[in-house]
């Protein structure tokens, strides 16, 4: 068996792949948080709950309407995004004038409310969600067996990250978003409907969380606690990457997923805490985060 530094190559590559898949979820989720934080200046504590909501919408669509994975991949994010738009319009937008603590508390309460609702009906156990038949099976890569669905997750998440980056950095709408992040009043004085832009941005961030949720449904089970399980790590990712940078959020998500995978082969006992150790070190050395602007 081939070894690198006393580690079997097969195990190494296998765990790196697992890390890449986890990293795909971290990247997509921290990207949504960064998009929302960039313009609205609020930390969306409901992000994990919206991720869970995306998975549940997919599950319910299948269970009650017979709508399968592929349509759900479009419909679930739309529903979660719409839910986000309604939340922003009716509640969150009323808090902008107040201290940011209020919107933080609001999204935190919202997370508890959404999670509590689903716990009431489904307990904390998971519901299975089958891999779509078109992505069943897998490919033998020689060093390991790669389930097709997991390969799809890596591709889909990466495409969404790149698409979002393109939308923000290279389009007209993105230039409104970037400008409004710098000086919302001036952008509105130029005739851009900034309140609508805020609604759209929150909805878009929520839709990203919903998309990640439905993407995750066949891998993890669909459960009310799936959001709070992953969101703690995602917040650590955000701290490591630094708030507000789109590219930083994506890169850090993948980086920490891979770091986790690597730790599983080198020192498995530490794999659950490695993200937090990295976070602590980054906070000591570079408090603004790897990609954040130093204050």
């Amino acid at each position: 068996m081939t070894m690198i530094f006393g580690i079997p190559v097969q195990a190494l590559l296998g765990q790196l792949l697992v890390g890449l898949i986890n990293g795909s979820f971290y990247a997509a989720l921290s990207l949504g948080l960064a998009v929302i934080f960039g313009l609205l200046r609020i930390i969306n504590f409901a992000h994990g709950a919206l991720y869970m909501l995306g998975a549940f919408v997919g599950y319910l669509l299948l269970a009650f309407a017979g709508i399968g994975y592929w349509p759900a991949l479009i419909v679930a994010p739309l529903i979660v995004g719409l839910f986000g738009a309604v939340l922003e319009r009716t509640m969150l937008s009323r808090l902008y004038k107040l201290d940011h603590l209020y919107s933080l508390l609001f999204t935190f309460g919202l997370a508890l409310f959404i999670e509590g609702t689903f716990r009431y009906f489904y307990g904390s156990s998971g519901q299975p969600y089958a891999v779509p038949p078109s992505l069943a099976g897998g490919t033998n890569l020689g060093f390991m067996f790669l389930p097709n669905y997991r390969a799809w997750v890596v591709v889909a998440s990466f495409a969404v990250c790149i698409g979002t980056w393109f939308l923000i950095e290279r389009t007209k709408l993105g230039s409104y978003l970037r400008a409004a992040t710098e000086n919302p009043t001036l952008v509105q004085a130029f005739g851009v409907n900034v309140p609508l832009l805020l609604t759209f941005t929150y909805a878009f961030g929520c839709a990203l969380a919903g998309f990640t949720g439905i993407l995750a449904a066949p891998i993890y089970q669909v459960s009310p606690v799936m959001g709070s399980n992953i969101i703690i790590i995602v917040f650590a990712v955000v701290v490591v990457g630094g708030m507000g940078s789109i590219f930083g959020a994506i890169a850090t998500g993948y980086l920490l997923g891979l770091a986790e995978g690597l730790t599983k082969v080198i020192y498995p006992e530490a794999s659950n805490i490695v993200v937090f150790v990295i976070m602590a070190v980054v906070l000591l050395v570079r408090p603004a985060g790897l990609f954040g602007k130093e204050a």
């Binding site: 230039s175 400008a179 952008v187 004085a189 005739g191 409907n193």
Partner: protein
Amino acid sequence: MHSSQPLLSVRGLNAWYGESHALHGVDLDIWPGETVTLLGRNGVGKTTTLRAIMGIIRKRTGSVAFDGQDVLKLALHRTAHAGIGFVPEERGIFATLTVEENLMLPPAVDRGGMSVEEIYALFPNLLERRSSPGTKLSGGEQQMLAIARILRTGVKLILLDEPTEGLAPVIVQRIGEMLLALKQRGLTVLLVEQNFRFAAKIADRFYVMDHGQVTDSFTTAQLPDRIQSLNRALGV
């Protein structure tokens, strides 16, 4: 002398920053095609007047009629669509946008704005540096960009706040030529300027502000007789 209605008519405009009362009943009129300059010492409320007309300051009373429309009732983003463009004192060039993105940012609100080609012909520097970040431009170039992006939109009235502040004399002259060119195109401009010698070359009329009110007004022809009293009033 004035045939039609004023394009902008401000009456008894009051404005507040929180509890602090900054404008105490400003009255002014601007007729179509005029360039009118607002003079006054630091802190008398010139910028505040522009912000209150634009709607950036929301705590206002009085009336601002523009093109027959009561602008005070409009949401901030509707004011531009009514036909008023704003060039802020601090220029407001966006660092995360390229020069060209900065130029294209304000939505066109009417036909009759300058085309991008015309703008680049007028400001070759902007063309040359169109893909660099907006704030990498020199102060003078940033000021030109701040004016150019409003020219694209086709607004009828431009509120222009101290465009020559802190700029070298050659650039000031260049901006003066630009403002003359705009005037020839029939644009109406409300210009805030401390330097009335500069303003005399382009303005048709002057208003003088003090303590949040308009205290004096005169035409450019009357300026020479006023120089001494103005120097005193403006503390130059």
